[in-house]
């Protein structure tokens, strides 16, 4: 009803202008962007008094930054950016000798990625605040972030995958996180992979991986992969409650196009949502029904005791082919290239969001089971049964908006769907399939997030929009503008815009969790007596220097406010110097930094009790300064030292000292 009114309004306006010939008459021209009207008490709803904490943690993907950003809600304050897939010279992540291993893959050292979807670990289908998973889209990887330290605990590479987009969604007790490949590719040995691109239909295969994180350590390994016909996977979600044991994946490009997908992959009326019986897959894998196929991949894990990464290299992976195992995989037709694939808190309904569709299909798990039992199929896709659309459909939400992308839920039977094209959030009733409310977003929302909104227990209270475009919403900063999120209250009948807040990188998906579930886990510092780093100096008496051929190793310590040793001599041009630095502090919030002039890699930021190593290759003769980069105390500016570098043929003895005033006298 709104649109025709608007049109008639505009049309009569144009006519009025023509007659009156007054350009300045207000109302004759579009007045520019419609700014949202924020009601009077919105500010008080997002105001978090100085010195008090936010109610929720909001874990937001960094997109092309490759990292994970942490905000507080409702204030929208940025708390931290956790280095995950991209190197971080500020902390030394990816540069220190210990952390380099976290970013190794079968392609070598990959210092960046494109991170899309954070997902909290769950217990009984409810986020538990223990871990946060996030996918690396480009060089297919999944990372596990420990929420006790807000550090990357492990990263696993996904073999036979190309574009790890449909990831890393978890089962109800985080038995598995999944990784569905965006691109299908040829698999196997070199000869089977070197094929013409136009043989897509015959040679290209998709797959979804089920990755198991060890509950104690967080170490990840691939339990099995389910291979599929060639097509693209977009998103996924686990079944829960009644649908526990199943996993749902949205698929597009069932046209099996390999060029100009924009057009060629948008031809069919319907693509698919793929339903996988993962309990059955687990059993098949256990019974040895799968086949080990080539698929070299790395699994990197951070050992908190040695403060170092450990890498395991796997040569192959276990695969299950649904053609050999009836009942493992079914397809359900879903309109127009579905993106979101979301399961409501009861697990009864699966919502597909066809990003080119003008309706939202809702599938019923009960009907899916009936259709499977009654063999209500409309055919098969490369040998896998396709269930009848009408048989599995609970119903369609008619004319909700344009371009539905993603849906989350509250605890009262409502769904919130983002619409990219019509730039809005639409609230609708899942059971009745009726639109209840809608609000505009500024502009072009991608994903959205309700705290706990993809789990069995939505905490509700807010829906947050993660937008793709900001245009005029903030102070301009040249051609590249800030990215942004918007916070809406969903407590009342009407959604209410409370706050815009800028974000780092590009915010794709996000998760939010009550702070009280995370705060008690926080590690304040690493216990020095538990430090098992092979080069740790657990006190100043353990500091030393040692030459091993061209390598010079320095066991160094930091404590407010000095390095020990801080006078090093006997280093020669052509040497590689390894500074193994242990921060001896044993109190919260007392990191020390380490920086040396001309370091071609990075600086180090050392948490209390931690040991990290910076490699430094001197390039010239002379005395080089080093200093602490973290303002550690009133005497921080005094925290410095010197390294003397002599010519390659010199005889200066190797020494490492701290010299006190008394010794000088």
């Amino acid at each position: 009803m709104k649109r025709p009114l608007l049109l008639t309004g505009t049309a009569s306006g144009v006519i009025a202008c023509a007659f009156v010939l007054l350009n300045s008459l207000p109302g004759c021209r579009p007045s520019g962007t419609t700014k949202s009207v924020v009601t009077g008490d919105a500010a008080s709803k997002v105001y978090v008094k100085p010195g008090t904490h936010d109610e929720f943690y909001n874990l937001v993907s960094g997109g092309f930054s490759g990292q994970l950003a942490v905000y507080g809600l409702p204030s929208g304050r940025l708390l931290r950016e956790v280095p995950v897939f991209s190197v971080d010279p500020e902390t030394g992540y990816g540069y220190s000798e210990e952390t380099k291993g976290m970013l190794t893959t079968s392609h070598g050292f990959i210092p960046w990625d494109d991170s899309h979807h954070p997902e909290l670990s769950q217990t009984d289908g409810i986020p538990d605040g223990k871990w946060c998973f996030i996918n690396g889209n480009n060089t297919p990887r999944i990372a596990l972030i420990d929420l006790g330290t807000f550090r990357t605990n492990s990263i696993i590479e996904i073999p036979n995958s190309a574009g790890n987009h449909s990831s890393p969604f978890t089962t109800g007790n985080s038995e598995y996180v999944v990784a569905g490949t965006r691109f299908s590719v040829p698999m196997g040995d070199d000869a089977s992979r070197d094929v013409p691109i136009k043989t897509y239909k015959e040679n290209f295969k998709g797959n979804v991986s089920f990755i198991h994180p060890e509950p104690e350590t967080g170490k990840m390994s691939i339990a099995f992969q389910v291979i599929t016909p060639g097509m693209n996977f977009d998103l996924s979600h686990t079944g829960k409650g009644v649908s526990e044991g199943w996993f749902f994946f949205s698929c597009y490009n069932t046209e099996q196009a390999y060029s100009l997908l924009e057009v060629n992959a948008s031809q069919r009326d319907k693509d698919f949502i793929m339903a996988v019986n993962w309990k059955l897959a687990e059993q098949l894998a256990k019974d040895g029904k799968g086949k080990r196929v080539p698929g070299k991949h790395h699994s990197n894990w951070w050992n908190e005791k040695t403060h170092s990464s450990e890498t395991t290299v796997y040569e192959d992976v276990l695969q299950l082919d649904p053609k050999d195992h009836p009942g493992l995989v079914y397809f359900m037709p879903c309109p127009k290239s579905p993106h979101g694939c979301d399961v409501d808190p009861t697990g009864k309904y699966i919502v597909g969001s066809g990003k080119l569709a003008a309706l939202i299909p809702v599938f019923s798990f009960e009907k899916i089971q009936k259709a499977i039992a009654g063999n209500e199929v409309e055919g098969d896709f490369a040998g896998i049964p396709v269930l009848k659309y009408e048989s599995v459909l609970h119903g369609e939400v008619k004319k909700p908006g344009l371009g539905p992308l993603h849906t989350e839920f509250d605890a009262n039977g409502n769904a919130y769907t983002s619409f990219f094209v019509s730039s809005e959030i639409v609230k609708w009733n899942v059971e009745k399939l009726e639109v209840v409310d809608r609000v505009p977003t500024y502009y072009s929302i991608g994903h959205l997030c309700v705290p706990g909104g993809d789990s069995k227990k939505p905490w509700g209270k807010y829906v947050i929009a993660y937008n793709k475009i900001t245009k005029d919403r903030y102070l301009p900063t040249g051609p590249e503008l800030t990215q942004s999120a918007q916070l809406y209250s969903i407590d009342g009948d009407k959604m209410e815009l409370l706050l815009d807040f800028p974000t780092t990188g590009e915010p794709h998906y996000a998760q939010a969790i009550p702070a009280e579930l995370v705060k008690p886990r926080e590690v304040k510092f690493f216990k020095i007596e538990e430090n098992e780093h092979p080069f740790a100096a657990k006190g100043e008496k353990d500091t030393k220097i040692e030459r091993r051929g061209k390598e010079v190793h320095v066991w160094m310590t930091t404590i407010r406010s000095h390095f020990a040793p801080d006078n090093i001599e006997g280093v020669k041009l052509g040497d590689e110097v390894y500074f193994h630095i242990t921060n001896l502090e044993q109190d919260w919030d007392v990191p020390h930094g380490f920086a040396i002039k001309g370091a071609a890699n990075a600086e180090l930021l050392l948490m209390p009790g931690e040991t990290q190593t910076l490699k430094w290759v001197p390039t010239r003769v002379g005395v080089t300064p080093m200093y602490c980069t973290d303002f550690c105390s009133a005497l921080h500016q005094e925290m410095q030292g010197y390294v003397r570098v002599s010519p390659a043929n010199s005889n200066v003895p190797l020494t490492a000292l701290t010299v006190s005033v008394d010794a000088e006298l």
Binding site: I559, R560, Q586, D587, S633, A634, L635, E638, V661
Partner: protein, 189 residues
């Protein structure tokens, strides 16, 4: 003395043994950048609490490094407490009023000595500053309060009895109470 008095004296004496296991005194420190506060507890035989953190801070102003070995008191105090408890039990067994009186005097002397000893160490630590200290404030000394509150640069310091201290006061109050009762209600010894 009445049997009830003798039982009370025995209870009081044995209560002194509690001091072997619980902190006797504590010093609390608070500053803007230490919202969670720092504390130091004095047990009969050792320090506990944020000793290393406090040492770390003290080195800026040139105060000595505190560690257990420097205090001969920690070797003596447990034995002294056990001796006092034994004397108390003996007094209870003996049942003479003058023994109770002597016990009170001894305990008071012990308390006074402990306070004086704490004051002496506090004075020593607060005044005997390293001349090479990084931070020197003219006329500033850092003797902690013997009891109560004192401002020391950016820190507020509080010195108060901990569980053991309160037990000690309780024991003294109990003995005084018994003594008064004896004089009032039992004039014939």
């Amino acid at each position: 003395m009445k049997p009830i008095s003798r039982i009370m004296i025995a209870v009081a004496a044995l209560s002194l043994l509690v001091l072997l296991f619980v902190p006797i005194w504590r010093i609390d420190l608070q500053a803007p950048q230490y919202p969670e506060g720092l504390y130091l507890q004095i047990f009969a035989d050792r320090f506990a609490g944020d000793v290393e953190k406090i040492n770390g801070l003290n080195h800026y102003i040139g105060m000595g490094h505190i560690h257990d070995d420097m205090f001969p008191e920690f070797a003596v105090l447990p034995k002294l407490l056990m001796a006092l408890a034994a004397l108390g039990v003996l007094a209870a067994l003996w049942g003479k009023r003058w023994a109770l009186f002597m016990g009170l005097v001894t305990l008071s002397l012990f308390g006074l000595w402990a306070l004086w000893d704490m004051y002496r160490w506090g004075y020593e630590y607060g005044h005997n500053l390293d001349p090479r200290a990084a931070i020197k404030v003219e006329d500033m000394t850092y003797q902690p309060p013997l009891i109560g509150h004192k401002q020391l640069l950016n820190f507020d310091a509080w010195s108060t009895p901990d569980i053991g201290g309160w037990v000690l006061f309780g024991v003294m109050a109990l003995l005084i109470g018994v003594y008064i009762m004896e004089i009032r209600f039992n004039p014939h010894k």
